[in-house]
């Protein structure tokens, strides 16, 4: 089996994998980082979004081997385990931007990527457009949009992680 090496949330990891292993399987089943979810498994719902080399990707449609040598940031890596939440996570909590929570890791990773690409002042239209690839079946999106607008503002001055 081919070997794969990458940095996940700042930590170097190496493993031998079946080439079929998807990045999301590698994260969840090999590394036990179950914060990244599998929703539709067809690249539509965005529950599996992680950052690969600083940009948002759907980890259910990426082979672990395609990420070889890369740097991955997951929901678990946004904030220190015992520290305060990442500003975007805090904004979701503050604005009640979730109900069941299944889509939330992907929503937050997409939101953080949105801020990196488009800046700290995001209007509602932009946020809704940019959420095209993230589905939520509970909230009706309203509070997610509010959370992202607020989180974008509080992220001002924070540096890009991993």
């Amino acid at each position: 089996m081919p070997a794969v090496s990458m940095t996940v949330n700042g930590k170097a990891v190496t493993a031998d994998v079946d080439p079929r292993t998807l990045l999301v399987q590698f994260l969840r089943e090999h590394l036990r980082l179950t914060g990244t979810h599998v929703g539709c498994d067809t690249s539509q719902c965005g529950a599996c979004v992680v950052h690969l080399n600083g940009i948002a990707v759907k980890s259910c449609t990426t082979l672990a081997l395609q990420a070889d040598g890369g740097s991955v940031l997951t929901s678990e890596g946004l904030a220190a385990p015992d520290g305060p939440l990442h500003p975007m996570q805090e904004a979701f909590r503050e604005n009640h931007g979730l109900q069941c929570g299944f889509c939330t890791p992907g929503m937050v990773m997409t939101a953080v990527d949105m801020v990196y690409r488009l800046g700290n002042d995001l209007d509602e239209h932009t946020i809704r457009q940019e959420l095209d690839g993230n589905l939520c079946r509970c909230t009706g999106y309203h509070n997610i949009v509010k959370a992202i607008a607020a989180g974008a503002k509080t992220m001002k001055g924070t540096s890009k992680a991993a």
Partner: protein, 264 residues
């Protein structure tokens, strides 16, 4: 997914050799068409030749009166390219309409064209501008490239390296987007380059992207929505599925063509 061997060439030549040695091998670019199909076990390649590490395949350059884009250019790179936005803004617009942001971060120009999905956006641009597909072997005119649903003129060991898009005086794309998938239920691309007028349609045809010669003829007098007022496209040869009937798709072609002409 069925089992496969994973190979990672570092040059186009190496990739071509890997494909030539194994007729069941498939090229992996961004993987956003191929991997979903493999997950559904609708494709069973013996090996994946991942060209993600081959250097020099994602360049975007203005060369004379054309924009030449590397096959591995991601949709987001084309959508955000200052060169493309300046010289051929419609191409940046179309790239920015494909899928969703995370999909655009991974999907590639060459991958989309090699796959030739009948509902994809890029085939309409390539045929609608009369672009040239540059491969490891030759140059293929858009009119000779698309051979039907998921079929192209590419040989099994031939790799797209670049695509050359001629600049157009006037061009526009209008898409009736499937609300769930984002694919084009119907998409119409119109362009005018000196005497060459093209109307290319994706999403509608039962054998993939095609040109509407009757519209092109009518537009020779004047490149305006008025010139095709009242004209229709026959429903024969259109695709019918749960998303829309052949008649509905044929109707949309005329509507979207007029809108595209008004926007061009």
């Amino acid at each position: 997914m069925y089992e496969f061997k994973y190979q990672r060439p570092t040059s186009v030549r190496q990739a071509v050799n890997m494909l030539a040695k194994d007729p069941e091998a498939k090229l992996l670019a961004g993987g956003h068409s191929l991997l979903p199909v493999m997950k559904l076990r609708l494709a069973k390649p013996s090996a994946l030749v991942d060209i993600g590490r081959v250097e020099g395949l994602n360049t975007i350059e203005l060369k004379g009166r054309s924009i030449v884009i590397g096959a591995m250019a991601r949709h987001v790179e084309v959508a955000n390219s200052p060169v493309v936005k300046e010289a051929l803004p419609v191409l940046a617009e179309v790239a920015g309409m494909i899928g969703d942001p995370a999909v655009r971060h991974r999907g590639t120009l060459g991958g989309s064209l090699a796959n030739n999905d009948p509902n994809a956006d890029y085939p309409a641009v390539v045929l609608g501008l009369g672009a040239t597909i540059i491969t490891s072997k030759r140059r293929i005119a858009a009119d000779d490239y698309f051979k039907g649903m998921f079929e192209t003129a590419l040989e099994p060991d031939e790799i797209i390296t670049k695509v050359s898009f001629p600049l157009a005086k006037k061009a526009a794309y209008q898409k009736f987007k499937h609300p769930a998938s984002g694919f084009a239920l119907v998409g119409v691309f119109v362009s005018k380059r000196s005497s060459d007028i093209r109307v290319a349609v994706t999403g509608a045809g039962a054998s993939g992207v095609f040109r509407v010669k009757s519209f092109e003829e009518a537009l020779k007098k004047r490149f305006s929505a008025k010139s095709i007022e009242g004209m229709t496209v026959p429903a024969d040869g259109m695709n019918t599925d749960i998303h829309g009937s052949a008649e509905y798709r044929a109707h949309l072609i005329a509507v979207l063509a007029r809108r595209a002409l008004a926007a061009a």
